[in-house]
């Protein structure tokens, strides 16, 4: 479904990604794990069109998207739930969800999808008219995920959804991602929290200082000595 082919990405003169390639298949949860500064968010931003690869290409359903205007990707079916949530803090919860459904089919089904989001996160329903900036961190993450779902994407990308959340909330968020996948969606999940991530993903790639160093099914990675030592702390 999504194919990243040999991309090199730079911030100014500094190269951040070296020859990164991977593939997300339809209906799976693919995890991209790695430490701080490994280039995980950079990879997602490149897929979203916010950064341009200097070399290589990104294909979605067979056609190149790395040359597209970034605002067209949501219409194509790619939603990005960004790192640190990036909500519109001065707008209400409901307005944030509206922003997730500006285009096409999602616009028509906005009210129905809102009910679906409030069904997944009942707490947001109670706070629909509250300004997003006044919510707790966990609730803000729920809004960010809800906003991504409102676009009815074919592929939804999560950038460290567990960041800064209490363990019980992390569990809740991961359960939601599992549920999203069970409904037939394709998920690209970027995480540092390896144990939980490998628990719900089908396959994973390990990113280290801008290069893909390992790949495989989650079961094989969980037994890999390097992964155990570097990421699982066992």
């Amino acid at each position: 479904m999504l194919e990243v082919r040999n991309i090199d990405v730079f911030y100014g003169d500094v190269q951040v990604l070296w020859d990164v390639s991977f593939e997300v298949k339809e209906g799976e949860v693919l995890a991209l794990i790695g430490a701080n500064g490994a280039g995980k968010s950079t990879t997602l931003k490149t897929i979203s069109g916010l950064l341009r690869p200097k070399r290589g290409e990104v294909l979605f359903e067979g056609s190149p998207i790395h040359t597209e205007d970034p605002f067209r990707l949501i219409e194509k079916g790619i939603a990005h739930v960004p790192e640190a949530r990036r909500l519109f803090t001065e707008m209400t919860v409901e307005e944030n969800l509206d922003m997730g459904s500006l285009k096409g089919e999602a616009r028509k089904l906005r009210e129905k999808n809102k009910d679906m989001v409030f069904d997944i996160f009942p707490r947001l329903g109670d706070r629909r008219r509250q300004r997003a900036g006044t919510l707790s961190g966990g609730e803000q993450q729920m809004v960010a995920i809800g906003r991504g779902l409102m676009a009815m994407p074919k592929l939804i990308m999560f950038d460290e959804p567990s960041l800064g959340l209490a363990p019980i909330l992390v569990k809740e968020i991961f359960n939601v991602i599992k549920r999203i996948r069970e409904e037939g969606n394709t998920v690209l999940l970027v995480e540092q929290n390896c144990k939980q991530t490998l628990g719900i993903a089908d396959r994973a790639y390990v990113l280290e200082t801008g290069k893909i160093t390992l790949e495989g099914t989650c079961a094989s990675l969980l037994n890999n000595e390097h992964v155990k030592k570097a990421y699982l702390g066992v």
Binding site: S48, G49, L50, D69, P70, F71, R72, L73, I74, E75, A79, H80, P82, R86, L87, F88, T89, E90, M91, E95, D98, M99, G100, L102, K103, R107, R131, T134, R147, A151
Partner: protein, 309 residues
């Protein structure tokens, strides 16, 4: 206070409110642009001047009432604003990384060119539109026989105020109820996140500059029945708009409305109780006071209350 004193006070307050409504319209235009583009549009007053000339010539050549020219000048100013953003400001945005102040300096240049062009074409004569209702007013005594005090409402000031209110209400509806309006607000809060939501951020910037210009253009048409027009009038209104946005809080629309009213009332009070010539001094007294005592503007007060801090 004796009855005549109360009368003067209330009359001053009314005049302040009417002026404040127009100021709010000017301020909202600037605050919108500031919110989305993160720049101070220092050509704001000059854009208003251009619109006033449009209204003036429509009146002088075709006898079109200035209040009707709102419907002509506002769309014209919208397209002028879109054009300025597209052909002048956007290209400069691309060198943002070198000197972000470039765009602000550019707006100063735009303002200078506009006022010099006006000077060149229209000379520095003072002009006005002598409408038939210029000095007419409604008197309280006519409606309430035996009223203990006498108050009056100037017809053109009141009509201008009502227009300003209607435009502001329309803008509020646009910004809160339509997808495009929400996209404008989203762009001002987080342009990158807006991009991810599918918002064409460049187009929103053009739209915003157009809207800001259209709003100040509408204000120009509403001002001309009650004001004089001359080429260098813009600078003064740029400053007024700037003061309003500081009082209201940068980028806050509701703040700009309150800021406009505060400034209007304050100027009116200064004019009545200290002297006509002191009104601009009063304006800057409010400005400095706002910077010292309320650096975030009125908007910061509202935010604090909502968070319960």
């Amino acid at each position: 206070m004796t009855a005549p004193q109360i009368e003067v006070f209330l009359q001053t307050l009314i005049a302040g409110f009417l002026l404040g409504g127009l100021y709010a319209l000017i301020g909202i235009g600037m605050t919108l642009i500031m919110g989305v583009m993160k720049i101070i549009n220092l050509a704001h007053g000059e854009l208003m001047m251009v619109s006033m000339y449009i209204a003036y010539w429509l009146f002088t050549l075709f006898g079109l009432d200035p209040y009707l020219s709102v419907f002509v000048a506002t769309p014209v100013m919208f397209f002028i604003g879109v054009g300025l953003q597209k052909f002048l400001i956007t290209p400069v945005l691309k060198v943002d990384s070198i000197l972000p102040e470039n765009q602000v300096i550019l707006t100063v240049g735009i303002g200078m060119v506009l006022s010099s062009l006006a000077m060149l074409f229209f000379k520095s004569d003072y002009r006005s539109t002598p409408v038939s209702y210029a000095t007419s007013a409604w008197y309280l005594g006519d409606y309430w026989k035996g009223s203990p005090i006498e108050l009056s409402l100037s017809v053109p000031w009141t009509v201008s105020f009502v227009f300003a209110l209607a435009i502001t209400a329309g803008l509020w509806f646009f910004l809160t109820k339509t997808d495009t309006g929400k996209s404008v607000r989203a762009t001002s809060q987080d342009p990158q996140a807006a991009l991810m939501m599918g918002v064409n951020v460049d187009r929103m910037r053009m739209l915003t500059f157009g809207l800001g210009s259209a709003l100040v253009g509408a204000a120009g048409c509403l001002f001309i029945p009650i004001y004089y027009l001359y080429p260098s009038l813009g600078g003064q209104f740029t400053l007024i708009a700037f003061v309003i946005t500081i009082i209201g809080g940068l980028g806050s629309t509701a703040g700009a409305i309150i800021g406009g009213i505060i400034l209007g009332v304050f100027e009116s009070m200064t004019a009545t109780y200290i002297g006509m010539g002191w009104a601009p001094v009063g304006r800057f007294a409010v400005f400095v006071a706002a910077l010292i005592f309320l650096p975030g503007g009125v908007a910061s007060l509202a935010r604090k209350r909502k968070l319960g801090k």
